[in-house]
Symmetry: C2
Subunit: 306 residues, 2 copies
Protein backbone atom coordinates (compact mmCIF):
# COMPACT_ATOMS: atom_id res chain seq x y z
CA UNK A 1 0.00 0.00 0.00
CA UNK A 2 1.30 3.38 -1.02
CA UNK A 3 1.18 5.26 2.27
CA UNK A 4 4.43 7.22 2.13
CA UNK A 5 4.23 10.86 3.07
CA UNK A 6 6.11 12.06 0.00
CA UNK A 7 4.69 9.62 -2.56
CA UNK A 8 1.68 10.74 -4.61
CA UNK A 9 -1.29 8.39 -4.24
CA UNK A 10 -4.17 10.28 -5.81
CA UNK A 11 -5.15 13.28 -7.92
CA UNK A 12 -8.27 15.21 -6.92
CA UNK A 13 -10.04 17.77 -9.11
CA UNK A 14 -12.60 20.27 -7.81
CA UNK A 15 -13.97 21.64 -11.09
CA UNK A 16 -16.73 24.16 -10.65
CA UNK A 17 -18.54 26.78 -12.68
CA UNK A 18 -15.92 29.48 -12.31
CA UNK A 19 -12.66 27.71 -11.43
CA UNK A 20 -10.72 24.46 -11.36
CA UNK A 21 -8.54 23.37 -8.44
CA UNK A 22 -6.34 20.29 -8.68
CA UNK A 23 -4.59 18.48 -5.82
CA UNK A 24 -1.76 15.94 -5.73
CA UNK A 25 -2.49 13.91 -2.61
CA UNK A 26 -0.36 11.42 -0.66
CA UNK A 27 -1.38 8.12 0.98
CA UNK A 28 -2.38 9.93 4.18
CA UNK A 29 -4.70 12.39 2.45
CA UNK A 30 -2.23 15.28 2.63
CA UNK A 31 -1.80 17.73 -0.22
CA UNK A 32 1.67 17.49 -1.82
CA UNK A 33 1.07 19.99 -4.61
CA UNK A 34 -1.83 22.00 -6.01
CA UNK A 35 -2.75 23.85 -9.19
CA UNK A 36 -5.36 26.49 -9.85
CA UNK A 37 -7.03 27.56 -13.10
CA UNK A 38 -9.79 30.13 -13.74
CA UNK A 39 -11.09 27.77 -16.42
CA UNK A 40 -14.32 26.80 -14.73
CA UNK A 41 -16.71 24.78 -16.87
CA UNK A 42 -18.39 27.90 -18.26
CA UNK A 43 -15.12 29.24 -19.69
CA UNK A 44 -13.82 26.08 -21.37
CA UNK A 45 -13.98 26.78 -25.10
CA UNK A 46 -15.70 24.16 -27.28
CA UNK A 47 -16.21 22.11 -24.11
CA UNK A 48 -12.69 20.78 -24.64
CA UNK A 49 -12.23 19.77 -21.01
CA UNK A 50 -9.50 17.29 -21.85
CA UNK A 51 -7.23 20.05 -23.20
CA UNK A 52 -7.60 22.06 -19.98
CA UNK A 53 -7.02 18.94 -17.92
CA UNK A 54 -3.85 17.99 -19.84
CA UNK A 55 -2.43 21.48 -19.71
CA UNK A 56 -2.99 21.91 -15.96
CA UNK A 57 -1.94 18.53 -14.55
CA UNK A 58 -0.33 16.61 -17.41
CA UNK A 59 3.02 16.84 -15.62
CA UNK A 60 1.55 14.91 -12.66
CA UNK A 61 0.61 12.03 -14.97
CA UNK A 62 4.06 11.39 -16.41
CA UNK A 63 5.37 9.79 -13.19
CA UNK A 64 2.99 6.84 -13.45
CA UNK A 65 -0.66 5.93 -13.11
CA UNK A 66 -2.54 7.48 -10.23
CA UNK A 67 -6.25 7.27 -9.54
CA UNK A 68 -7.98 10.56 -10.45
CA UNK A 69 -11.24 11.78 -8.88
CA UNK A 70 -13.15 14.81 -10.14
CA UNK A 71 -16.07 16.52 -8.40
CA UNK A 72 -18.15 19.64 -8.96
CA UNK A 73 -20.21 21.11 -11.79
CA UNK A 74 -17.96 19.19 -14.19
CA UNK A 75 -20.56 16.38 -13.83
CA UNK A 76 -23.51 18.64 -14.76
CA UNK A 77 -25.29 18.94 -18.10
CA UNK A 78 -22.84 21.65 -19.17
CA UNK A 79 -19.82 19.68 -17.92
CA UNK A 80 -17.60 16.89 -19.23
CA UNK A 81 -19.79 13.89 -18.39
CA UNK A 82 -23.30 14.30 -16.95
CA UNK A 83 -23.80 11.92 -14.05
CA UNK A 84 -27.02 11.05 -12.19
CA UNK A 85 -27.81 12.42 -8.73
CA UNK A 86 -27.49 10.34 -5.56
CA UNK A 87 -30.16 10.62 -2.86
CA UNK A 88 -29.81 11.40 0.85
CA UNK A 89 -28.66 10.26 3.33
CA UNK A 90 -25.18 9.41 2.05
CA UNK A 91 -21.55 9.06 3.07
CA UNK A 92 -18.15 8.33 1.48
CA UNK A 93 -19.16 4.71 0.78
CA UNK A 94 -22.30 5.80 -1.10
CA UNK A 95 -20.31 8.22 -3.24
CA UNK A 96 -17.58 5.60 -3.81
CA UNK A 97 -20.15 3.11 -5.15
CA UNK A 98 -21.61 5.79 -7.42
CA UNK A 99 -18.32 6.86 -9.08
CA UNK A 100 -18.64 7.18 -12.86
CA UNK A 101 -15.54 6.15 -14.79
CA UNK A 102 -14.54 7.93 -18.00
CA UNK A 103 -11.53 7.26 -20.22
CA UNK A 104 -10.02 10.31 -21.95
CA UNK A 105 -8.93 10.25 -25.58
CA UNK A 106 -5.36 9.81 -24.33
CA UNK A 107 -6.40 6.76 -22.33
CA UNK A 108 -6.30 8.35 -18.89
CA UNK A 109 -8.98 7.05 -16.52
CA UNK A 110 -10.99 9.63 -14.54
CA UNK A 111 -13.62 8.90 -11.91
CA UNK A 112 -16.41 11.43 -11.43
CA UNK A 113 -17.98 11.95 -8.01
CA UNK A 114 -21.65 12.40 -8.74
CA UNK A 115 -23.97 15.11 -7.38
CA UNK A 116 -26.70 14.84 -4.77
CA UNK A 117 -30.40 15.67 -4.80
CA UNK A 118 -33.05 16.02 -2.13
CA UNK A 119 -36.58 17.40 -2.05
CA UNK A 120 -38.69 19.45 0.35
CA UNK A 121 -42.42 20.19 0.13
CA UNK A 122 -41.99 22.88 -2.51
CA UNK A 123 -39.38 21.37 -4.82
CA UNK A 124 -36.10 19.57 -5.46
CA UNK A 125 -32.64 20.73 -4.48
CA UNK A 126 -29.36 19.83 -6.18
CA UNK A 127 -25.63 20.11 -5.51
CA UNK A 128 -22.46 19.01 -7.26
CA UNK A 129 -19.13 19.35 -5.47
CA UNK A 130 -20.19 20.47 -2.00
CA UNK A 131 -20.85 16.85 -0.95
CA UNK A 132 -17.15 16.04 -1.51
CA UNK A 133 -16.07 18.97 0.67
CA UNK A 134 -18.40 17.84 3.45
CA UNK A 135 -17.06 14.27 3.25
CA UNK A 136 -13.59 15.81 3.61
CA UNK A 137 -14.56 17.89 6.63
CA UNK A 138 -16.10 14.81 8.15
CA UNK A 139 -12.89 12.82 7.62
CA UNK A 140 -10.99 15.63 9.35
CA UNK A 141 -13.04 15.06 12.50
CA UNK A 142 -15.59 17.87 11.98
CA UNK A 143 -18.07 15.13 11.69
CA UNK A 144 -21.46 16.19 12.96
CA UNK A 145 -23.51 19.33 12.95
CA UNK A 146 -24.47 22.03 10.51
CA UNK A 147 -22.20 23.38 7.79
CA UNK A 148 -22.74 26.56 5.79
CA UNK A 149 -20.99 27.07 2.46
CA UNK A 150 -21.53 30.72 1.48
CA UNK A 151 -21.40 31.73 -2.16
CA UNK A 152 -23.36 32.21 -5.34
CA UNK A 153 -25.67 29.43 -4.23
CA UNK A 154 -25.16 29.13 -0.50
CA UNK A 155 -25.63 25.62 0.96
CA UNK A 156 -26.63 24.62 4.50
CA UNK A 157 -25.82 20.99 5.15
CA UNK A 158 -26.68 18.77 8.15
CA UNK A 159 -24.28 15.94 8.94
CA UNK A 160 -24.86 13.18 11.48
CA UNK A 161 -22.51 10.25 12.16
CA UNK A 162 -20.45 11.22 9.12
CA UNK A 163 -23.48 11.04 6.82
CA UNK A 164 -25.03 13.94 4.94
CA UNK A 165 -28.64 13.92 6.18
CA UNK A 166 -30.17 17.06 4.67
CA UNK A 167 -29.33 20.31 2.90
CA UNK A 168 -30.85 23.48 1.45
CA UNK A 169 -29.67 25.92 -1.20
CA UNK A 170 -30.11 29.70 -0.96
CA UNK A 171 -29.48 31.91 -4.01
CA UNK A 172 -28.06 34.64 -1.77
CA UNK A 173 -24.86 35.45 -3.65
CA UNK A 174 -26.38 35.45 -7.11
CA UNK A 175 -29.40 37.50 -6.02
CA UNK A 176 -27.07 40.01 -4.34
CA UNK A 177 -25.21 40.49 -7.61
CA UNK A 178 -28.40 40.75 -9.69
CA UNK A 179 -30.00 43.30 -7.34
CA UNK A 180 -26.81 45.35 -7.07
CA UNK A 181 -26.05 45.31 -10.78
CA UNK A 182 -29.48 45.35 -12.37
CA UNK A 183 -32.02 47.16 -10.16
CA UNK A 184 -32.51 50.64 -8.73
CA UNK A 185 -30.90 49.37 -5.50
CA UNK A 186 -27.50 49.69 -7.16
CA UNK A 187 -27.88 53.37 -8.04
CA UNK A 188 -27.29 54.79 -4.55
CA UNK A 189 -24.33 52.52 -3.79
CA UNK A 190 -21.01 54.29 -3.25
CA UNK A 191 -17.98 52.04 -3.52
CA UNK A 192 -15.66 51.75 -0.59
CA UNK A 193 -14.23 49.37 2.03
CA UNK A 194 -16.45 46.95 3.95
CA UNK A 195 -18.91 48.90 6.10
CA UNK A 196 -19.50 46.79 9.19
CA UNK A 197 -22.07 49.34 10.38
CA UNK A 198 -24.08 48.99 7.17
CA UNK A 199 -23.71 45.21 7.24
CA UNK A 200 -24.87 44.95 10.89
CA UNK A 201 -27.95 47.07 10.20
CA UNK A 202 -28.75 44.91 7.16
CA UNK A 203 -28.34 41.68 9.12
CA UNK A 204 -30.68 42.96 11.84
CA UNK A 205 -33.28 43.84 9.19
CA UNK A 206 -32.85 40.50 7.41
CA UNK A 207 -33.13 38.46 10.60
CA UNK A 208 -36.53 40.03 11.33
CA UNK A 209 -37.68 40.27 7.72
CA UNK A 210 -39.75 37.08 7.84
CA UNK A 211 -41.76 36.79 4.65
CA UNK A 212 -41.37 40.46 3.74
CA UNK A 213 -38.14 40.42 1.77
CA UNK A 214 -39.71 41.88 -1.41
CA UNK A 215 -40.80 44.84 0.72
CA UNK A 216 -37.78 45.20 3.00
CA UNK A 217 -35.38 45.24 0.04
CA UNK A 218 -36.94 48.59 -0.94
CA UNK A 219 -35.34 50.03 2.22
CA UNK A 220 -31.96 49.51 0.54
CA UNK A 221 -33.11 52.43 -1.61
CA UNK A 222 -35.17 54.51 0.81
CA UNK A 223 -32.71 54.53 3.72
CA UNK A 224 -29.96 56.34 1.75
CA UNK A 225 -32.58 58.37 -0.16
CA UNK A 226 -33.88 59.77 3.14
CA UNK A 227 -30.36 60.26 4.50
CA UNK A 228 -30.71 57.50 7.11
CA UNK A 229 -27.63 55.55 6.02
CA UNK A 230 -24.56 56.70 4.06
CA UNK A 231 -24.06 55.74 0.41
CA UNK A 232 -20.87 53.91 1.45
CA UNK A 233 -22.98 51.60 3.67
CA UNK A 234 -25.59 50.62 1.09
CA UNK A 235 -23.90 47.63 -0.59
CA UNK A 236 -23.11 46.03 2.76
CA UNK A 237 -26.59 46.80 4.08
CA UNK A 238 -27.97 44.84 1.10
CA UNK A 239 -25.48 42.01 1.69
CA UNK A 240 -26.39 41.90 5.38
CA UNK A 241 -30.12 41.86 4.72
CA UNK A 242 -29.82 38.89 2.35
CA UNK A 243 -27.47 36.92 4.61
CA UNK A 244 -29.68 37.72 7.62
CA UNK A 245 -32.74 36.50 5.74
CA UNK A 246 -30.91 33.28 4.80
CA UNK A 247 -29.92 32.63 8.42
CA UNK A 248 -33.43 33.43 9.63
CA UNK A 249 -34.88 30.86 7.22
CA UNK A 250 -32.39 28.22 8.40
CA UNK A 251 -33.19 28.94 12.05
CA UNK A 252 -36.78 27.96 11.27
CA UNK A 253 -35.46 24.64 9.97
CA UNK A 254 -32.72 23.63 12.36
CA UNK A 255 -31.79 23.43 16.03
CA UNK A 256 -30.50 26.85 17.01
CA UNK A 257 -28.03 25.79 19.68
CA UNK A 258 -25.61 24.05 17.32
CA UNK A 259 -22.22 25.41 16.33
CA UNK A 260 -22.20 26.19 12.60
CA UNK A 261 -19.07 25.33 10.62
CA UNK A 262 -18.32 27.86 7.87
CA UNK A 263 -16.64 26.58 4.70
CA UNK A 264 -15.54 29.15 2.16
CA UNK A 265 -13.57 32.17 1.04
CA UNK A 266 -12.32 34.31 3.91
CA UNK A 267 -14.17 37.52 3.02
CA UNK A 268 -17.51 35.72 2.86
CA UNK A 269 -16.71 33.64 5.94
CA UNK A 270 -16.09 36.91 7.83
CA UNK A 271 -19.55 38.15 6.90
CA UNK A 272 -21.25 34.92 7.92
CA UNK A 273 -19.37 34.87 11.22
CA UNK A 274 -20.68 38.36 12.05
CA UNK A 275 -24.22 37.53 10.92
CA UNK A 276 -24.36 34.20 12.79
CA UNK A 277 -23.18 35.95 15.96
CA UNK A 278 -25.93 38.56 15.51
CA UNK A 279 -28.40 35.67 15.31
CA UNK A 280 -27.01 34.25 18.56
CA UNK A 281 -25.27 31.32 16.87
CA UNK A 282 -21.72 30.05 17.47
CA UNK A 283 -19.51 29.39 14.46
CA UNK A 284 -16.10 27.97 13.57
CA UNK A 285 -14.15 27.76 10.30
CA UNK A 286 -13.17 24.67 8.35
CA UNK A 287 -9.56 24.51 7.12
CA UNK A 288 -8.72 25.12 3.45
CA UNK A 289 -8.55 22.31 0.90
CA UNK A 290 -10.97 19.99 2.69
CA UNK A 291 -12.14 18.95 -0.76
CA UNK A 292 -8.83 17.08 -1.25
CA UNK A 293 -9.55 15.11 1.92
CA UNK A 294 -12.99 14.39 0.48
CA UNK A 295 -11.45 12.99 -2.70
CA UNK A 296 -9.10 10.93 -0.53
CA UNK A 297 -11.92 9.50 1.63
CA UNK A 298 -14.04 8.56 -1.36
CA UNK A 299 -11.04 7.01 -3.17
CA UNK A 300 -10.19 4.99 -0.07
CA UNK A 301 -13.80 3.78 0.26
CA UNK A 302 -13.67 2.78 -3.41
CA UNK A 303 -10.49 0.71 -2.80
CA UNK A 304 -8.48 2.86 -5.18
CA UNK A 305 -5.57 3.51 -2.83
CA UNK A 306 -4.33 0.01 -2.14
CA UNK B 1 -67.82 78.41 -12.57
CA UNK B 2 -66.66 76.51 -15.59
CA UNK B 3 -68.64 73.29 -15.26
CA UNK B 4 -69.64 72.71 -18.87
CA UNK B 5 -69.25 69.17 -20.09
CA UNK B 6 -67.41 70.20 -23.22
CA UNK B 7 -65.31 73.05 -21.81
CA UNK B 8 -61.78 72.23 -20.61
CA UNK B 9 -61.22 73.16 -16.97
CA UNK B 10 -57.93 71.49 -16.08
CA UNK B 11 -54.87 69.74 -17.49
CA UNK B 12 -53.49 66.76 -15.56
CA UNK B 13 -50.09 65.17 -16.11
CA UNK B 14 -49.10 61.74 -14.81
CA UNK B 15 -45.35 61.80 -15.49
CA UNK B 16 -43.56 58.69 -14.34
CA UNK B 17 -40.22 56.97 -14.81
CA UNK B 18 -41.10 55.33 -18.12
CA UNK B 19 -44.01 57.30 -19.60
CA UNK B 20 -46.01 60.52 -19.57
CA UNK B 21 -49.79 60.65 -19.80
CA UNK B 22 -51.62 63.96 -20.16
CA UNK B 23 -55.35 64.59 -19.72
CA UNK B 24 -57.60 67.47 -20.74
CA UNK B 25 -60.34 67.46 -18.09
CA UNK B 26 -63.71 69.20 -17.93
CA UNK B 27 -65.45 70.84 -14.95
CA UNK B 28 -67.01 67.53 -13.91
CA UNK B 29 -63.72 65.64 -13.83
CA UNK B 30 -64.32 63.87 -17.15
CA UNK B 31 -61.53 63.32 -19.66
CA UNK B 32 -62.08 65.29 -22.89
CA UNK B 33 -58.81 64.38 -24.58
CA UNK B 34 -55.61 62.56 -23.69
CA UNK B 35 -52.05 62.29 -24.94
CA UNK B 36 -49.38 59.67 -24.34
CA UNK B 37 -45.61 59.85 -24.63
CA UNK B 38 -42.94 57.23 -23.88
CA UNK B 39 -40.77 60.07 -22.60
CA UNK B 40 -40.74 59.15 -18.94
CA UNK B 41 -38.35 61.16 -16.79
CA UNK B 42 -35.48 58.76 -17.42
CA UNK B 43 -35.64 59.29 -21.19
CA UNK B 44 -35.85 63.07 -21.31
CA UNK B 45 -32.56 64.26 -22.79
CA UNK B 46 -30.67 66.98 -20.90
CA UNK B 47 -33.56 67.00 -18.42
CA UNK B 48 -35.33 69.38 -20.81
CA UNK B 49 -38.77 68.60 -19.43
CA UNK B 50 -40.23 71.84 -20.74
CA UNK B 51 -39.52 70.85 -24.35
CA UNK B 52 -41.34 67.54 -23.89
CA UNK B 53 -44.21 69.31 -22.15
CA UNK B 54 -44.58 71.94 -24.91
CA UNK B 55 -44.41 69.38 -27.68
CA UNK B 56 -47.01 67.07 -26.16
CA UNK B 57 -49.66 69.49 -24.89
CA UNK B 58 -48.74 72.92 -26.25
CA UNK B 59 -51.86 72.84 -28.45
CA UNK B 60 -54.02 72.59 -25.31
CA UNK B 61 -52.51 75.81 -23.95
CA UNK B 62 -53.31 78.04 -26.92
CA UNK B 63 -57.04 78.22 -26.11
CA UNK B 64 -56.44 80.07 -22.86
CA UNK B 65 -55.10 79.61 -19.38
CA UNK B 66 -56.00 76.41 -17.60
CA UNK B 67 -54.70 75.19 -14.26
CA UNK B 68 -52.15 72.39 -14.77
CA UNK B 69 -51.39 69.68 -12.19
CA UNK B 70 -48.50 67.23 -12.55
CA UNK B 71 -47.91 64.13 -10.41
CA UNK B 72 -45.49 61.22 -10.43
CA UNK B 73 -41.72 60.76 -10.46
CA UNK B 74 -41.51 64.16 -12.18
CA UNK B 75 -41.26 65.57 -8.60
CA UNK B 76 -38.33 63.31 -7.62
CA UNK B 77 -34.64 64.13 -7.49
CA UNK B 78 -34.28 63.11 -11.14
CA UNK B 79 -37.40 65.02 -12.21
CA UNK B 80 -38.28 68.59 -13.12
CA UNK B 81 -38.70 70.04 -9.60
CA UNK B 82 -37.92 68.00 -6.47
CA UNK B 83 -40.69 68.44 -3.92
CA UNK B 84 -40.77 67.34 -0.26
CA UNK B 85 -42.76 64.31 0.89
CA UNK B 86 -46.06 64.59 2.74
CA UNK B 87 -46.78 62.29 5.68
CA UNK B 88 -49.73 59.97 6.32
CA UNK B 89 -52.65 60.06 6.79
CA UNK B 90 -53.66 62.37 3.96
CA UNK B 91 -56.47 63.22 1.54
CA UNK B 92 -57.15 65.56 -1.39
CA UNK B 93 -57.11 68.60 0.92
CA UNK B 94 -53.66 67.71 2.27
CA UNK B 95 -52.26 67.31 -1.24
CA UNK B 96 -53.97 70.54 -2.37
CA UNK B 97 -52.28 72.49 0.44
CA UNK B 98 -48.92 70.96 -0.46
CA UNK B 99 -48.98 71.81 -4.19
CA UNK B 100 -45.67 73.27 -5.39
CA UNK B 101 -46.02 75.95 -8.07
CA UNK B 102 -43.43 76.30 -10.84
CA UNK B 103 -43.38 78.80 -13.70
CA UNK B 104 -41.88 77.52 -16.97
CA UNK B 105 -39.51 79.63 -19.07
CA UNK B 106 -42.49 80.45 -21.30
CA UNK B 107 -44.44 81.71 -18.29
CA UNK B 108 -46.83 78.76 -17.97
CA UNK B 109 -47.73 77.94 -14.37
CA UNK B 110 -47.57 74.27 -13.32
CA UNK B 111 -48.53 72.86 -9.93
CA UNK B 112 -46.76 69.72 -8.74
CA UNK B 113 -48.54 67.18 -6.54
CA UNK B 114 -45.93 66.10 -4.04
CA UNK B 115 -45.05 62.54 -3.02
CA UNK B 116 -45.82 60.71 0.19
CA UNK B 117 -43.64 58.99 2.77
CA UNK B 118 -44.31 56.64 5.66
CA UNK B 119 -42.15 54.44 7.86
CA UNK B 120 -42.39 50.99 9.39
CA UNK B 121 -40.10 49.40 11.96
CA UNK B 122 -37.40 48.56 9.41
CA UNK B 123 -37.32 51.68 7.25
CA UNK B 124 -39.02 54.42 5.26
CA UNK B 125 -41.29 53.99 2.25
CA UNK B 126 -41.87 56.49 -0.56
CA UNK B 127 -44.26 57.01 -3.46
CA UNK B 128 -44.82 59.68 -6.07
CA UNK B 129 -47.89 59.49 -8.30
CA UNK B 130 -49.81 56.59 -6.79
CA UNK B 131 -51.34 58.89 -4.15
CA UNK B 132 -53.04 60.90 -6.92
CA UNK B 133 -54.52 57.73 -8.45
CA UNK B 134 -55.87 56.67 -5.07
CA UNK B 135 -57.44 60.11 -4.51
CA UNK B 136 -59.08 59.66 -7.92
CA UNK B 137 -60.41 56.19 -7.09
CA UNK B 138 -61.74 57.58 -3.85
CA UNK B 139 -63.55 60.41 -5.67
CA UNK B 140 -65.10 57.78 -7.95
CA UNK B 141 -66.74 56.16 -4.95
CA UNK B 142 -64.19 53.34 -4.43
CA UNK B 143 -63.47 55.03 -1.18
CA UNK B 144 -62.45 52.56 1.46
CA UNK B 145 -60.45 49.37 1.61
CA UNK B 146 -57.22 48.03 0.23
CA UNK B 147 -55.81 48.89 -3.19
CA UNK B 148 -53.00 47.05 -4.97
CA UNK B 149 -51.07 48.75 -7.77
CA UNK B 150 -48.95 46.04 -9.44
CA UNK B 151 -45.79 46.98 -11.30
CA UNK B 152 -42.07 47.55 -11.04
CA UNK B 153 -42.57 48.66 -7.46
CA UNK B 154 -45.93 47.26 -6.44
CA UNK B 155 -47.88 49.33 -3.87
CA UNK B 156 -50.49 48.16 -1.35
CA UNK B 157 -52.49 51.09 -0.02
CA UNK B 158 -55.10 51.23 2.77
CA UNK B 159 -57.82 53.89 2.49
CA UNK B 160 -60.34 54.80 5.14
CA UNK B 161 -62.97 57.57 4.89
CA UNK B 162 -61.30 58.81 1.71
CA UNK B 163 -57.92 59.20 3.45
CA UNK B 164 -54.76 57.25 2.65
CA UNK B 165 -53.89 55.64 6.00
CA UNK B 166 -50.99 53.33 5.19
CA UNK B 167 -49.06 51.74 2.35
CA UNK B 168 -46.18 49.37 1.55
CA UNK B 169 -43.96 48.95 -1.50
CA UNK B 170 -42.83 45.58 -2.89
CA UNK B 171 -40.07 45.39 -5.51
CA UNK B 172 -41.81 42.46 -7.19
CA UNK B 173 -41.73 43.61 -10.82
CA UNK B 174 -38.17 44.86 -10.78
CA UNK B 175 -36.88 41.77 -8.96
CA UNK B 176 -38.71 39.54 -11.47
CA UNK B 177 -36.90 41.27 -14.33
CA UNK B 178 -33.50 41.12 -12.60
CA UNK B 179 -33.83 37.43 -11.74
CA UNK B 180 -35.10 36.50 -15.21
CA UNK B 181 -32.52 38.55 -17.07
CA UNK B 182 -29.45 38.28 -14.88
CA UNK B 183 -29.40 35.01 -12.95
CA UNK B 184 -29.29 31.30 -13.72
CA UNK B 185 -33.10 31.26 -13.30
CA UNK B 186 -33.43 32.75 -16.77
CA UNK B 187 -31.46 30.03 -18.53
CA UNK B 188 -34.17 27.35 -18.48
CA UNK B 189 -36.97 29.72 -19.51
CA UNK B 190 -38.61 28.95 -22.86
CA UNK B 191 -40.61 31.83 -24.32
CA UNK B 192 -44.27 31.32 -25.03
CA UNK B 193 -47.79 32.45 -24.13
CA UNK B 194 -48.90 32.87 -20.50
CA UNK B 195 -48.79 29.52 -18.72
CA UNK B 196 -51.56 29.60 -16.16
CA UNK B 197 -50.47 26.19 -14.91
CA UNK B 198 -46.94 27.43 -14.23
CA UNK B 199 -48.28 30.62 -12.69
CA UNK B 200 -50.69 28.76 -10.37
CA UNK B 201 -47.92 26.46 -9.15
CA UNK B 202 -45.69 29.46 -8.51
CA UNK B 203 -48.42 31.31 -6.61
CA UNK B 204 -49.02 28.28 -4.40
CA UNK B 205 -45.29 28.06 -3.64
CA UNK B 206 -45.04 31.81 -3.00
CA UNK B 207 -48.06 31.88 -0.69
CA UNK B 208 -46.45 29.26 1.54
CA UNK B 209 -42.86 30.47 1.12
CA UNK B 210 -42.81 32.48 4.37
CA UNK B 211 -39.27 33.63 5.04
CA UNK B 212 -37.69 31.16 2.62
CA UNK B 213 -37.78 33.08 -0.64
CA UNK B 214 -33.99 32.94 -1.17
CA UNK B 215 -34.30 29.15 -1.00
CA UNK B 216 -37.59 28.64 -2.82
CA UNK B 217 -36.42 30.71 -5.78
CA UNK B 218 -33.88 27.96 -6.48
CA UNK B 219 -36.83 25.72 -7.38
CA UNK B 220 -37.38 27.94 -10.42
CA UNK B 221 -34.22 26.22 -11.65
CA UNK B 222 -34.49 22.74 -10.15
CA UNK B 223 -38.11 22.02 -11.13
CA UNK B 224 -37.41 22.27 -14.90
CA UNK B 225 -33.93 20.75 -14.44
CA UNK B 226 -35.52 17.63 -12.90
CA UNK B 227 -38.30 17.59 -15.52
CA UNK B 228 -41.02 18.51 -12.99
CA UNK B 229 -42.28 21.54 -14.93
CA UNK B 230 -41.98 22.43 -18.63
CA UNK B 231 -39.58 25.10 -19.84
CA UNK B 232 -42.57 27.04 -21.15
CA UNK B 233 -43.94 27.28 -17.58
CA UNK B 234 -40.79 28.58 -15.90
CA UNK B 235 -41.18 32.35 -16.40
CA UNK B 236 -44.76 32.29 -15.11
CA UNK B 237 -43.78 30.01 -12.22
CA UNK B 238 -41.24 32.68 -11.20
CA UNK B 239 -43.81 35.44 -11.64
CA UNK B 240 -46.36 33.51 -9.57
CA UNK B 241 -43.90 32.77 -6.77
CA UNK B 242 -43.00 36.45 -6.41
CA UNK B 243 -46.61 37.68 -6.56
CA UNK B 244 -47.65 34.93 -4.14
CA UNK B 245 -44.91 35.97 -1.74
CA UNK B 246 -46.02 39.61 -1.97
CA UNK B 247 -49.64 38.69 -1.20
CA UNK B 248 -48.57 36.43 1.65
CA UNK B 249 -46.62 39.30 3.23
CA UNK B 250 -49.62 41.63 2.89
CA UNK B 251 -51.94 39.05 4.45
CA UNK B 252 -49.72 39.21 7.54
CA UNK B 253 -50.32 42.97 7.64
CA UNK B 254 -53.96 43.44 6.74
CA UNK B 255 -57.44 42.14 7.35
CA UNK B 256 -57.92 39.19 5.02
CA UNK B 257 -61.66 39.50 4.47
CA UNK B 258 -61.53 42.77 2.53
CA UNK B 259 -62.08 43.09 -1.20
CA UNK B 260 -58.87 44.23 -2.88
CA UNK B 261 -59.14 46.82 -5.67
CA UNK B 262 -56.58 46.26 -8.44
CA UNK B 263 -55.27 49.32 -10.28
CA UNK B 264 -53.06 48.72 -13.27
CA UNK B 265 -52.28 47.35 -16.69
CA UNK B 266 -54.62 44.56 -17.75
CA UNK B 267 -52.03 41.78 -18.11
CA UNK B 268 -50.69 42.39 -14.61
CA UNK B 269 -54.19 42.86 -13.18
CA UNK B 270 -55.10 39.42 -14.60
CA UNK B 271 -52.19 37.84 -12.74
CA UNK B 272 -53.07 39.54 -9.46
CA UNK B 273 -56.71 38.54 -9.82
CA UNK B 274 -55.70 34.87 -10.15
CA UNK B 275 -53.20 35.06 -7.30
CA UNK B 276 -55.59 36.89 -4.94
CA UNK B 277 -58.24 34.25 -5.63
CA UNK B 278 -55.70 31.52 -4.83
CA UNK B 279 -55.11 33.29 -1.51
CA UNK B 280 -58.85 33.30 -0.84
CA UNK B 281 -59.24 37.04 -1.42
CA UNK B 282 -61.93 38.85 -3.45
CA UNK B 283 -60.83 41.47 -5.95
CA UNK B 284 -62.29 44.07 -8.32
CA UNK B 285 -60.72 46.38 -10.91
CA UNK B 286 -60.54 50.15 -10.87
CA UNK B 287 -61.47 51.94 -14.14
CA UNK B 288 -58.79 53.45 -16.38
CA UNK B 289 -57.62 57.04 -16.04
CA UNK B 290 -58.48 57.39 -12.36
CA UNK B 291 -55.39 59.58 -12.11
CA UNK B 292 -57.25 62.32 -14.05
CA UNK B 293 -60.01 62.23 -11.43
CA UNK B 294 -57.27 62.51 -8.80
CA UNK B 295 -55.91 65.65 -10.47
CA UNK B 296 -59.45 66.99 -10.62
CA UNK B 297 -60.15 66.32 -6.92
CA UNK B 298 -56.91 67.94 -5.78
CA UNK B 299 -57.45 70.94 -8.09
CA UNK B 300 -60.96 71.37 -6.72
CA UNK B 301 -59.71 71.18 -3.12
CA UNK B 302 -57.11 73.82 -4.01
CA UNK B 303 -59.82 76.13 -5.36
CA UNK B 304 -58.34 76.09 -8.85
CA UNK B 305 -61.57 75.29 -10.69
CA UNK B 306 -63.76 78.20 -9.69
Amino acid sequence: MNSGASEPALIGLDWGTSSLRAFLINGRGEVLDKMFSPEGIMSVSDRNFEAVFDKLIGHWLSAGELPILASGMITSRNGWVETPYEHLPLDADTLARALVTHKTECGVELRFVTGVTTEDESGPDVMRGEETQIIGASALGMSDGVFVMPGTHSKWISVSNGRIEDYSTYMTGEIYAALKGHTILGTLIEDGPFSEEGFDLGVAAGLTSKSHLLHDLFHVRTLPLMGKIEGSMVADYLSGMLIGSEISAEMDNRAAEETITIIGRNDLADRYEIALAAAGLQSRRAPDDIVAMGHFSIARSAGLLS
